[in-house]
Symmetry: C2
Subunit: 291 residues, 2 copies
């Protein structure tokens, strides 16, 4: 079976065929007309595929695949699944990009085991859950939203309206904003990471604050789910200054004996995890509970 795997983000689109191995990955900017960019990318690949699996930024309706990605303003309640199915005449499955990342890491990350939380720490903080060797979807396909685990009930207000969500503290723009309030002149996360690498105290403190929040949230989730593996991807996972405070918070907050072997590691697959997961969605019912 050959399927087409697609990863849709606010900045770029990526796709590859999958026939037991991932073919060459093609990419294009998302741009102002994402539908034109997407079909331009997929048309040459879609001829011989029997199904399409798509990971897309949320929020979305699941399993209908109507998407309203925060970072793609041109799509509001856009019937992505239906439109792709019409165009290519094959079954299409759409899930959250962080769910696809978690599934890809589970399948191809070389971790072993049956359980995994995948975290994507980037513009937002998303996640996906594999438990007992199955994707956890939740009632509306939104399971894995680790970004809205509370890490401080008196903390900053999140975009969702609650206080002290992990995402309110640890998403990239919040880290940069906190650093700028404390005297950094970094204009974005990449610049702030450079400041931290050069020993800038405010930059280091900003990433440490995010790492602590991640450690607290991960300890909560690990205790709740008796979970022993968490992998973190996304831009923030590249910043060494985040990891030391994450590990300190984790060792303070994760004290139950059954969590002694809890591992928290950088994602193994880099940019292809989402494509591997999207391909798995398309290849079999094992990974898909939607209709």
């Amino acid at each position: 079976m050959t399927v087409l795997a697609v990863d849709i983000g606010g900045t770029k689109l990526a796709a590859a065929t999958w026939d037991g191995a991932l073919g060459e990955v093609v990419r294009t900017p998302t741009g102002e007309d994402p539908w034109a960019a997407l079909t331009g990318l997929l048309d040459p690949l879609a001829e011989e595929v029997q199904a399409v699996g798509i990971g897309c930024g949320g929020p979305m309706q699941w399993p209908s695949g109507r998407v309203s990605p925060l970072n793609i303003p041109a799509w509001q309640d856009f019937p992505l699944r239906e439109r792709i199915a019409e165009r290519y005449g094959v079954p299409v499955r759409v899930h959250n990009d962080a769910v696809c990342m978690a599934l890809g890491e589970h399948l191809a990350g070389g971790w072993g085991g049956q359980d995994l939380l995948g975290v994507v720490a980037s513009t937002g903080v998303g996640g996906g859950l594999v438990l007992g060797g199955r994707v956890v979807d939740g009632a509306s396909g939104n399971a894995g939203h680790v970004g809205h685990v509370c890490v401080d009930p008196d903390g900053p207000v999140c975009t969702c309206g609650a206080r002290g969500c992990l995402e309110a503290v640890a998403r990239g723009p919040a880290v940069v904003a906190w650093a700028r309030e404390h005297g950094s002149s970094a204009v974005d996360g990449v610049a702030l990471a450079r400041e931290a690498a050069c020993g800038g105290e405010v930059a280091v403190a900003a990433f440490a604050r995010a790492g602590r929040a991640l450690g607290i949230a991960i300890a909560s989730v690990a205790a709740l789910l008796d979970l022993h593996l968490v992998v973190i991807g996304g831009g923030l996972s590249q910043v060494p200054e985040l990891w030391s405070s994450l590990r300190t918070a984790l060792s303070r907050q994760s004290r139950l004996a059954f969590l002694d072997d809890l591992r928290v590691e950088p994602a193994a697959l880099g940019q292809t995890a989402g494509l591997v997961g999207a391909a798995a969605l398309a290849t079999g019912d094992r990974w898909w509970s939607g209709w």
Copy 2:
């Protein structure tokens, strides 16, 4: 198929046969010699059963069923599963009592749906998870430990050693201790609940503090798992003063659109939930993933 369902707590033991319906429940105090009490209770019931399902207080090794219940000091690494299997010559399955409660509520609580978090708020704060119509066990059978979700990283130290766990704030003895520090003379939770019912300000505040912690933890778990039903049992769930602050915290902290229909309700089954769940463990592999 007739099975024997058993619920083992620090104060009392309960058992009943199950043949599609729960037989008459028999109870006895746990006492100083829990094995004698247990076999005295089970011997008259065990003759015609084909399997035994047991819910027991943790911690325990799962699925081996070696138990070290916090509230039964006589049992340290006690091979409960093995001993019961030897005595009655039938297959035995042992799981956490809160997991059995959650499973019982899922099966017989009349809630509908495929997903549920069951919380037992009592001497500790335990829990069990049913997702997608299956029990979530976790790698070592400890999934559902909602009591160790962090609700305040600067909060009181928990018995587990971490800071600000739900259990550190909301377990019965912690609620009473907080109230006594603030001027209440209540000697236990029952007395404190009476003070609250009579309008005692400190008692009301003590339960409100516990309710707020429950609301924060439940909002985190609901977001993480896209979960729409939480049921709460245990002594604290009987205190009306806890529920209003729980609901206030929940509505503040649970703001994602997909959680608009999140319900948090008192457990439906009362004292038999654990027995119904324990019976289900014994009746079929659908509810049991251990060997």
